[in-house]
């Protein structure tokens, strides 16, 4: 909220924004131009580093295939993430609520997090088959950890005095949970969601690498086998854009759901539990 901008009108509101963002935009444009020229100036072959224009051309060649496979991957990501949410939040609540669950489940969770999820992929294919099941499961197990951890951290934020205060008012455990603990935890839980959804993308794509006949991971494999480097780059760009869009979608929901003071608190905490 720049107070100066409010008092002096629209012209000055734009100018500081331009001053802030112009150098950033310029830097990105320069990198792209340099990259575009690198191919012809330094004779870098297309199969090593395609120019941005060639990547765009590869993507434009068959947008139907790109969006079709993108849709498959997106569904896997969302399903994996949502299962992750549905499992992780109650698990986080259980860990915070019962010491026994904390002692038994928490070490297991940490140990499980140490297992490289990529290494699990072949096993999951054996269990859940070639179809979306194995991809959804891999997305789910990768997304779960940060959501559980952030839920636990968030639920532990409530000062003990606040709980005393609520109890001294005759509040039920459910009231204490709903009115205080869960709301106080919300920014942390959203931090977990933001990490979780990008990890779910990784999980789904790795799943598609191992065994699949559709999805963006499969497209990557196909492009790799055909030495179609521009297409490889194109799919990576497309995947990244999808990941970024999903991240900001979660952030948008957070902004819509949380009241102001909690939103600002969450911003500083996006990195927890990574």
């Amino acid at each position: 909220m720049p107070g100066s901008a409010q008092s002096t009108g629209a012209v000055t509101t734009i100018a500081p924004a331009a001053r802030t963002y112009a150098p950033i935009v310029l830097a990105y444009v320069l990198v792209l131009v340099a990259w575009e020229l690198a191919g012809s100036v330094f004779h870098v072959p297309k199969y090593v580093l395609p120019a941005p224009s060639q990547i765009v051309a590869a993507l434009a060649k068959n947008p139907g295939m790109l969006f079709g496979n993108g849709w498959v991957t997106l569904q896997e990501v969302l399903a994996g993430f949502l299962i992750g949410v549905v499992v992780s939040i109650p698990l986080g609540v259980a860990i915070v609520s019962w010491r026994a669950v904390d002692r038994i489940v928490y070490p297991f969770l940490v140990a499980f997090q140490a297992v490289p999820k990529v290494a699990l992929a072949p096993i999951l294919v054996v269990w859940f088959g070639f179809g979306p099941g194995s991809k959804v499961t891999l997305g789910f197990v990768t997304a779960m950890f940060p959501i559980v951890i952030n839920t636990v951290i968030g639920l532990r934020q409530t000062p003990v005095e606040m709980i005393h205060l609520m109890r001294s008012l005759g509040a039920s455990p459910l009231q204490i949970f709903m009115k205080v603990r869960l709301v106080a935890a919300a920014p942390y839980i959203f931090g977990g969601f933001k990490l979780g959804i990008t990890l779910a993308v990784v999980g789904a794509v790795v799943g598609e690498f191992i065994a699949s006949n559709k999805g963006l991971g499969n497209m990557l494999l196909a492009a790799n086998n055909a030495f179609d480097t521009p297409m490889l780059f194109g799919v990576v760009v497309f995947l990244s854009l999808m990941s970024i869009a999903l991240f900001y979608l979660v952030e948008l929901i957070e902004v819509l759901v949380l009241p102001g003071p909690l939103r600002r608190k969450g911003d500083a905490n996006t990195g927890t539990g990574a």
Partner: protein, 264 residues
């Protein structure tokens, strides 16, 4: 002892009898509170002062029914306390306001928890905020307030549901001296209106003398009652009270008690 408007409606009596509390720390039982007997009359403002770690806070939590005593008993209005009292006002050193609620909604929290009509209590909440000069901040979030302002909101929250008993645990410990003085006077004004029974834990001797009808001096480790002093002034307490010879005398008396305990 005060001339409390004879057990006015909405004020509690508190009776502690041979109250003790031990914790197990590093495998050994440590006694935090030892054989404390104390009676607080309805409408009385009773301060508990003592060095750090004398079990003052533990005592307060036991009165609230939040910690069970190891031995002895607590009675509030003649009934033995066996679980959390559901109708007390509590203020802690930390204001523990809910950051996501406006000042007004923070004050109305007890009403909401008790499932009473927030609408009906809105005016009362605003009146309370008016009394501590915060009415204009009713729609602000706590993050926009200073420490002293936040603690005043916490006091309004403790008073909104007319609890017959106020339990305050070093409520002004984190505030600077000037703010503290201002809130002391605010609290005197508020409790003078309602005549609630107040049990007030502090380590400020000045504050205790300024506000109390009675001061209970406790020893440290384990916490025992060392001395109990009645505090009486002619006329209501005000900013001038501190300048009265009687005030200086009482402060010295409490100080002497600390001296005899070997604390200062």
């Amino acid at each position: 002892m005060t001339t409390a408007p004879a057990a006015a409606r909405g004020t509690s009596s508190v009776g502690l009898s041979h109250l003790s509390k031990s914790y197990v720390r590093n495998g050994r039982a440590a006694r935090a509170v030892d054989d404390v007997s104390l009676d607080v009359s309805p409408g009385e403002f009773c301060s508990i002062v003592g060095p750090s770690g004398c079990g003052k806070s533990t005592l307060l939590m036991m009165i609230a029914g939040l910690y069970p005593p190891t031995s002895g008993s607590i009675h509030v209005d003649g009934a033995e306390v066996r679980g959390p009292l559901a109708n007390v006002g509590m203020v802690f050193q930390r204001d523990v306001l809910l950051e996501w609620r406006t000042v007004l909604d923070n004050v109305l929290l007890p009403i909401e928890v008790k499932r009473l009509s927030k609408h009906a209590y809105r005016e009362k909440a605003l009146d309370l905020l008016e009394l501590v000069s915060l009415r204009d901040f009713a729609d602000c979030y706590p993050e926009q307030l200073s420490g002293g302002m936040r603690q005043r909101v916490a006091i309004c929250r403790a008073l909104i549901h007319d609890p017959p008993l106020l339990l305050m645990d070093e409520p002004f410990g984190a505030l600077d001296a000037l703010t503290r003085e201002k809130i002391n006077l605010d609290l005197i004004r508020l409790t003078a209106l309602t005549r609630q029974t107040v049990v007030f834990v502090t380590h400020s001797i000045d504050e205790a003398v300024l506000m109390s009808d009675r001061i209970v001096v406790m020893t440290a480790g384990p916490g025992r009652v060392f001395q109990s002093l009645d505090v009486a002034f002619d006329g209501p307490r005000s900013i001038e009270t501190r300048a009265e010879p009687r005030f200086v005398e009482l402060v010295k008396e409490v100080r002497d008690a600390f001296h005899r305990m070997g604390v200062i």
